[in-house]
């Protein structure tokens, strides 16, 4: 009987397509918006993915990774001296202005790495050698910088080209890959000492201390030790700082609200279109359903048929929606924007929502069919 239930629905092409379209649209909208949102949150934590360290020791009042408050140079040794710390190195991270050859200024994220260890260095070098970063006035720029720091009518930058940061020459020695930052500023890596020369002179210039737990110790345990013995600073594990940053953006920006609105809208549109369409499908088929009821189809059987009909369209719509969202993601990945990230948790959540919509639509129909008198079929 269930194969006939499917045929009955698909046979009504207009309603079937409408229902499918509604669920497809809902799945696509919810997935795409959530994926962009998650991608955007990913952008807020780009420091953490571009500068890998198990422990980040920062000024005590810092709430998230994009607002590092300056520390003294000597703070590195305070961290280093804590038992349980294998090593600790300085990090400079700040927005500076790059002056291009045409005289224009562009903001960059200048990252200064410990020149001996190069801890926090970019994972992928596309061109050039990472070691050349130790040469005077040298920088490694990311692929985004290639495009961002290029003068409007000039040629694309390359290894060997230079620009200025704060009146100082910055010579490009390598090009790396990096995850994109929230404001879209390109990353420019250099050594810590060089970064201090690029940056305007201030009393406190250290942004963070990157540290490694001693062998056999967890990052959490080492962080706890640092926190107990170094006042005025706070040690975060990579994970803690990641979530603190995301929570911060949730609390302090309107981004979740605006995305939330669109996502809820997608849900409501899905509910409205599919609920309405399926209900009118059922209304139109009331006579047939009544005939089935007269012929001895139980309410349970009919409910099963209705559920199957709507669920199978739901799954189809979900699949198509996911496919479309993934294609959107592929295009976004190619173009570098908008941000897009489609983790399986999101796919699962959207599936649950779509099935909920379907269940709602089926429930309406089931209630209607339950109230239907089998005797209606005898009425002309």
């Amino acid at each position: 009987m269930f194969h006939l239930a499917l045929k009955m629905l698909i046979g009504d092409k207009a309603k079937f397509l409408m229902l499918l379209g509604g669920l497809f649209f809902a799945a696509l909208l919810m997935t795409q918006q959530c994926a962009v949102f998650i991608g955007l949150l990913g952008w807020t934590t780009s420091h953490l993915s571009n500068i890998r360290s198990k422990l980040w020791v920062v000024e005590a009042r810092v709430e998230q990774v994009n607002e590092l408050k300056p520390l003294r140079d000597t703070d590195v040794s305070r961290v280093r001296s804590v038992a349980g710390v294998a090593w600790a190195v300085p990090l400079y991270a700040s927005v500076l202005q790059a002056r291009l050859n045409d005289g224009n200024f562009k903001p960059i994220l200048c990252i200064g790495l410990d020149s001996t260890s190069l801890v926090g260095r970019p994972a992928t070098i596309l061109k050039g050698r990472i070691e050349d970063i130790r040469l005077p006035n040298s920088v490694i720029i990311d692929d985004l910088a290639l495009e961002r720091l290029k003068p409007p009518d000039g040629e694309s930058l390359d290894v060997g080209d230079s620009f200025e940061i704060n009146d100082r020459e910055a010579r490009i020695v390598a090009i790396c890959k990096s995850d994109r930052a929230f404001f879209g500023y390109p990353y420019v890596f250099t050594t810590y000492d060089q970064a201090l020369q690029f940056a305007p002179r201030q009393r406190k210039m250290l942004s963070a201390v990157l540290a490694e737990p001693a062998p056999g110790m967890t990052a959490e345990a080492t962080a706890a030790r640092i926190n107990a013995s170094v006042p005025g600073m706070k040690a975060w594990t990579e994970d803690e700082l990641y979530w603190a940053t995301i929570v911060w953006y949730f609390k302090n920006t309107g981004i979740p609200f605006s995305f939330g609105t669109t996502i809820i809208l997608g849900f409501i549109v899905g509910v409205a279109i599919s609920g309405q369409t399926f209900y009118s499908f059922v209304l139109e088929n009331l006579k047939n359903l009544g005939a089935l009821k007269a012929m001895g189809a139980s309410d349970l059987k009919l409910a099963g048929m209705l559920l199957l009909q709507v669920m199978s369209v739901g799954l189809l719509g979900y699949g198509l929606g996911m496919g479309a969202a993934a294609s959107f993601g592929a295009v976004a990945a190619k173009k570098g924007q908008p941000p897009f990230m489609l983790p399986w948790e999101l796919m699962g959540a959207v599936l649950v929502l779509i099935l909920l919509i379907c269940m709602g639509a089926a429930l309406l129909a089931i209630l209607k069919v339950r109230r239907l008198e089998a005797a209606v079929v005898f009425r002309g």
């Binding site: 009955m8 006579k287 012929m295 089998a374 005797a375 005898f378 009425r379």
Partner: protein, 256 residues
């Protein structure tokens, strides 16, 4: 027109030899509430014999369809006893009545009520599927039944491709496919022309004449009287008389 062949016996409720196919007494049924309510049945008594084609006739609005629905178990009366094929429907629960309908009753409706998006084989297989038969078996039986009603090889066609008479024959195939004991028809010929109405009635008559079946036909259509074994006349919510057609017909002819 091929006439349905004798079919194997269904599983039966406790039905003794000589028992009535349908025996209802004192049925009342009101629709609506308060001042707006209509008393559609006012203490109707009715019986139908096994092996007969029983007609129910009467003016429009006299309660024929309502009575038929009560017999079929699709409508619960306000009062009265309904015994169908030896089973007291008024004493069964809703689910039990549904089961009973599914197993022992075949339905033929005035508007055919074939499902437009299903082909003929699929339409005719529905009662078997509802009774738990497998798809292959149900479709095979449906095709055989379509053949018996003169629609051999049309199984893949859709209802809209058929004439009214052909559609009603599909409905008959559907009503008979699960080998029911009682076939209930409301105005089966009113949407058909004389010739096809004739063919449909012949088919039903063939089914009714089997010893353990009964066919009840509600009709307005005098053209079908000649197929009846018995004719019950209704008026204003009551059954006035139920007589052998041989007795009733000459009298009715005299009236006209």
């Amino acid at each position: 027109m091929p006439v349905p062949m004798p079919m194997k016996n269904s599983q039966l409720p406790s039905l003794n030899a000589g028992e009535l196919a349908v025996h209802v007494t004192g049925i009342t049924k009101a629709f609506g509430k308060g001042n707006a309510s209509t008393l559609a049945l006012k203490g109707a008594d009715f019986e139908a014999q096994l092996g007969e084609l029983q007609l129910i006739i009467g003016p429009s609005g006299c309660g024929k369809t309502t009575l038929l629905s009560v017999i079929a178990g699709t409508l619960v009366p306000d009062a009265g006893d309904v015994r169908v094929l030896g089973e007291m429907l008024t004493e069964l629960g809703k689910g039990e009545v549904t089961d009973f309908r599914r197993r022992f009753i075949g339905f033929i409706f005035q508007q055919f009520n074939l499902i437009p998006t299903l082909n003929l084989t699929e339409n005719a297989s529905v009662p078997l599927l509802l009774n738990g038969a497998g798809r292959r078996k149900a479709e095979k039986a449906a095709d055989e039944m379509l053949e018996r009603v003169g629609l051999a090889g049309r199984g893949k066609h859709y209802p809209r491709q058929l004439s009214g008479g052909q559609q009603q024959r599909v409905a008959i195939a559907r009503a008979l496919v699960h080998d029911p004991r009682l076939i209930i028809c409301d105005e089966p010929t009113s949407a058909l022309d004389r010739e096809t109405g004739h063919q449909v009635m012949e088919l039903l008559q063939g089914v009714a004449r089997q010893a353990d079946r009964s066919v009840i036909v509600v009709t307005h259509d005098p053209r079908v009287y000649e197929f009846a074994d018995r004719i019950a006349a209704m008026e204003d919510g009551r059954v006035l008389g139920n007589r052998p057609a041989a007795e009733a017909l000459p009298e009715m002819a005299a009236h006209h």
